[in-house]
Amino acid sequence: MKILVCVKQVPATDSRIKPTGDGVGVDLSSVDWIINPYDEFAIEEALQLKAKHDGEVVVVSIGGDKVEDAMRSALALGVDTAEVIKDAGSAASDSLGIAKGLAAIAKRHNPDLILCGKQAVDDDQMAVPAMLAELLDLPQATVVVGMEVAEDGKSAKVDREIEGGHEKIEVTFPAVIATQKGLNEPRYANLKGIMAAKKKKIEVLSAADLGLGEFGSKVEVLAVNPPAEKTGARMIEGDAAAQVTELIKVLHDEEKII
């Protein structure tokens, strides 16, 4: 079973994120870079499937000059090989541009299964997995919190989280599956894995190697602003009874929301 895992390198979730001076970008000069948290579930699932179904796990990524660090971390967890498109312009690409790049890589591998995270925590699009599925003409299941692959490795029963419930889906492989927290408990790298990863190869490709044009975008950024400043809470004083009375009054009379 060949499994492709799409991993995006993103700023650590506790990074301070601020607009750049010109107001049309985000200042990422001093952030720490990590593997997108949801992609960790995809990597873990791939490694568990590899153990059960005997197979190969390839991580792929499109990113900037630090992207190999994310690949090295994935290799340390037990992933077999890594392939990246390293392209400074990719950061300005839109989801569809990225999905086209990933589709081009996927076509070289013909995987039985493609695993993604449900969402990249930087631009929060939740778009690439579904786009990739469409471009490759594969079925998809997104926001997956449970997954049971058939003995023959040719289909799966998955559990997808929706508002107020779950959908149980039967999907034939090859397919694109996007993972959500709850699916598994991602492992940590151990020393042996970290040492082994140093010897594994990361294949670095350019968009041109894959016959792709420049990473473009149909979406133009006009401005990046900090969220509207709240002026701080209006504190409601008094004992509990007085506070509750006052709160009910403002929510009912002023805010008109209860």
């Binding site: 926001v143 809470a233 403002v250």
Partner: protein, 325 residues
């Protein structure tokens, strides 16, 4: 047949149009109007013919009906088949949906199918000249981006609770029937498990009561449920209490949980870590109850109560009960 500038993908559940779709209907109509065109709406399901009237009275000019057994449950491929047909029939070059579980699964697939621009989870939308301009929170709400695309060839989803439901105007829509048989569905929903009736999902609710570690023990979470019940609100939670197993992950609000944007968010015994704020800071009115006056949650709150949840919550629940009766 009338060509439409804009097509809206409408979600229904048990034959009822979802509130988020009605909100999107208002926004989609405004886009259509400012482009000087008409609005189509496509709805899929089984036994849903009655919905055309509601859609028409809220502003849809044409309703494309995908009423078929294969559409009884959502499937990406089945619904994509239906919406693609409606796009072809209507000639629309802008497709609007909601940033719901269904919309987020379907919309990007259609953007790739049409090779159109994609704008996810937008909180405002406007036509400016030949451009479609939107705002959307990025980096979990740490910044708000203003983005533009050409005003033709776009798929966009709208964040629930960010747009208001249009008044019913008494208009009526022309109905077009789609033949959606024969969709190739390789990922099939075989069962749907929904939670007990009466509990609103936190991601959809327009009021949310959330609890954190300040509640001390799992049993005490009933205080949050009691208030939520009186308010008709969804129940949220911080990751700390989800990890502690007090409540299921589908209640978690935040960076690694759900993003909510209700009209009222009441945070009870939640400190306000950056990852929690990521999921709720765009709520319209935030009330924080915390015994620590320095808790960071007060920086994003509109109203703050420094107090003990065990004292404040029961009184608040009683007061809402009194107000309701």
């Amino acid at each position: 047949m009338m060509a439409n500038e804009v097509l809206l993908f409408v979600e229904q559940r048990n034959g009822e149009i979802k509130k988020s779709s009605l909100e999107a209907l208002g926004a989609a109509k405004a886009i259509a109007t400012s482009k000087g065109g008409s609005l189509g709406a496509v709805v899929a399901g089984e036994g849903i013919s009655g919905l055309a009237e509601t859609l028409g009275s809220h502003g849809a000019d044409v309703v494309y009906m995908a009423d078929h057994g294969d559409m009884a449950h959502y499937s990406t491929e089945g619904y994509a088949h239906a919406v693609t047909q409606a796009l072809d029939k209507s000639g629309a070059t802008i497709l609007v949906g909601s940033a719901t579980a269904m919309g987020k699964d379907l919309a990007p697939r259609l953007a790739a199918r049409k090779d159109w621009a994609f704008l996810a989870d937008t909180t405002s939308v406007a036509i400016e000249g030949d451009k479609l301009v939107v705002t959307r929170p990025e980096y979990a709400g740490k910044v708000i981006s203003k983005l533009a695309t050409a005003a033709t060839g776009v798929v966009l989803t709208l964040r629930p609770n960010s747009f208001s439901v249009p008044e019913a105007s008494g208009g009526s829509a022309q109905v077009e029937t789609l033949d959606v048989s024969g969709a190739n569905i390789r990922a099939k929903v075989v069962a749907l498990e929904t939670k007990e009736q009466g509990l609103v999902d936190v991601a959809e609710a327009d009021r949310v009561v959330s609890g954190g570690r300040g509640l001390k023990e799992a049993e005490n979470f009933s205080l949050v449920f009691d208030l939520a019940k009186e308010l008709g609100a969804g129940v949220g939670a911080s990751r700390a209490v989800v990890d502690a197993g007090w409540i299921g992950h589908d209640h978690q609000v935040g960076q690694t949980g759900k993003t909510v944007s209700p009209n009222l968010y009441i945070a009870c015994g939640i400190s306000g870590a950056i990852q929690h704020l990521a999921g709720m800071r765009t709520s319209k009115c935030i009330v924080a109850i915390n015994k620590d006056a320095e808790a960071p949650i007060f920086q994003v709150a509109d109203y703050g109560i420094v107090g003990d949840v065990f004292e404040v919550l029961p009184k608040l629940t009683d007061a809402v009960k009194a107000l309701n009766s």
